[in-house]
Symmetry: C2
Subunit: 80 residues, 2 copies
């Protein structure tokens, strides 16, 4: 089973990487660009009986390792 986890900074947390990308894009002439936010996408192969079990374990992985609970939020999509 394959899952895709998105980890993004919570709204209100300064996204320096996103700001840097935004400034660079505008410097390249992409004036139509507004706010830019960057996060992580993590694709995980996982053995599980079903999607629900996979999601529960992936949630545990996020809480224990993949996402910082203070500054980051995450979403889990079990893809296949």
């Amino acid at each position: 089973m394959k899952a895709r986890i998105h980890v993004m900074l919570k709204p209100g947390v300064l996204d320096t990487q996103g700001k840097a990308i935004g400034h660079s894009l505008q410097g390249l002439g992409f004036d139509e660009v507004g706010e830019v936010r960057q996060g992580k996408v993590i694709e995980v192969e996982i053995a599980a009986a079903d999607a629900a079990q996979a999601k529960a374990r992936l949630d545990e992985m996020c809480r224990k390792l993949l996402a910082n609970p203070v500054t980051e939020s995450y979403t889990i999509d079990v893809v296949a």
Copy 2:
């Protein structure tokens, strides 16, 4: 308009970050985890007449700045 860009290492390119995450997860007892790959997700606010125009400009941004054409591939989703 909001778009979401995924930038991942191309298959065959060693994903050291993904490997490190995989080892850490197994060290935490998540033995059911197989291959792990990590990439970037970039959310961009963009002013455009329509989704097609937005996608064309976002593709240009990826080729010029956001993705390394040698080692990375990207997908663009115009979300709203």
